[in-house]
């Protein structure tokens, strides 16, 4: 019983954070490509800041991954 609850908690943690992070990245990338298409001359600068922002969002998802891995393997 307890083991299954832990598994459920891990799945919820990574599932919720992963879906939200994927949504955020998709929204941001869409906007960035939009602005690149409008102004191709600033494309490289947009790309740089896009990469940094994606890394920061991905970090949140990786925190969730670490938490759920700890849940699964420590408890």
């Amino acid at each position: 019983m307890e083991k299954s609850l832990v598994a459920l908690a891990a799945a919820l943690a990574i599932g919720a954070v992963g879906s939200i992070a994927a949504y955020a990245i998709s929204k941001m990338a869409g906007k960035a490509f939009d602005s690149m298409a409008r102004q191709p001359e600033v494309a490289s600068r947009v790309q740089t800041s896009l990469t940094i922002a994606i890394v920061f969002i991905e970090t949140c998802a990786i925190y969730a991954l670490v938490v759920s891995l700890l849940l699964v393997f420590v408890f």
């Binding site: 940094i52 890394v55 991954l65």
Partner: protein, 277 residues
């Protein structure tokens, strides 16, 4: 002759039995495999007199990757020329220019970028090789959480030392009191949060990739793991190394930029007070 044949057949039987056990679908317990791989106890201990040094799997991978990098560096360094450059020199120059351009895009000038480059490029290459070494079945170094944490602490020390070296103590102090002096505690807090986020990012990515690969090895032991391994070990390792280097460079650039902002603000204030007089 007969004895040789018997030995050979016995050997081949044992070999194929082992191979079949290794390749049998579902033949391994996933939880057991992962639990044994997150056991970070030392493999063996080196004794020097009374001192005993424990050696873990991560240390072996780190030493091997350092040796690979030394050989690579010596090989790239040999036979540099001004005209009619060889292919490997073009590769080295390209790598150099990419990192220089990266540093310059974060607000450093050429001289500052050339000071920072050896450190950040070494950090990036080291992380890449120590992750990609998992292809030859050595444990990826970043799987042991101590490794990414120590690398991140080194990166933060590098940021502080480079900030002081490029800008002087006064310039570094200016970077801490941007935009207003009241934000000093938060700027200091930044130096605690940065290493944690750098380390957890590297550790989570490598560890997550490892677990997924173990899962695939359990379910489909043939062909698939080696193809996926190329992605999770080499490509993801390269991506994480580039991100680590990128962020370290951007943090150093941030220090330079903040210091410049404060200098500008001080100059503006002085101009305003002079106009009043």
């Amino acid at each position: 002759m007969v004895v040789g044949k018997a030995v050979l057949s016995g050997f081949s039987r044992i070999f194929f039995n082992r191979l079949w056990e290794h390749l049998k679908p579902g033949g391994r317990d996933l939880g057991e495999t992962i639990r044994s791989s997150i056991d970070f106890s030392p493999i063996w201990t080196i004794r020097v007199g009374k001192l005993s040094i424990p050696v873990t799997g991560a240390m072996v991978s780190l030493v091997v990757s350092a040796l690979i990098l030394i050989v690579l560096g010596v090989w790239l360094r040999r036979g540099l020329r001004k005209h009619k450059i060889s292919g490997k020199q073009a590769l080295a120059e390209k790598l150099y220019l990419v990192v220089i351009n990266l540093s310059e895009s974060f607000g450093m000038n050429r001289r500052q970028a050339e000071t920072v480059l050896p450190w950040t490029l070494t950090l990036g290459l080291y992380i890449f090789v120590s992750n990609a070494i998992a292809v030859v079945q050595l444990p990826a170094a970043a799987m042991n959480p101590a490794v990414p944490f120590s690398l991140a602490l080194f990166a933060v020390a590098l940021i502080i030392v480079m900030g002081i070296r490029l800008l002087g103590l006064k310039g570094f102090w200016y970077s801490l009191i941007d935009p207003i002096p009241g934000l000093l505690p938060f700027n200091l807090l930044d130096y605690l949060i940065k290493p944690v986020s750098l380390a957890l990012r590297l550790f989570g990515n490598v560890f997550g990739g490892f677990i997924l690969l173990q899962f695939v090895k359990t379910v489909v032991p043939l062909i698939f793991p080696s193809i996926l391994g190329l992605w999770f070990d080499v490509a993801a390792g390269l991506l994480q190394a580039v991100i680590f280097m990128y962020l370290t460079t951007s943090y150093i650039g941030e220090v330079v930029e903040k210091s410049n902002n404060t200098l500008e603000r001080i100059a503006q204030k002085r101009q305003l007070s002079e106009e009043k007089v």
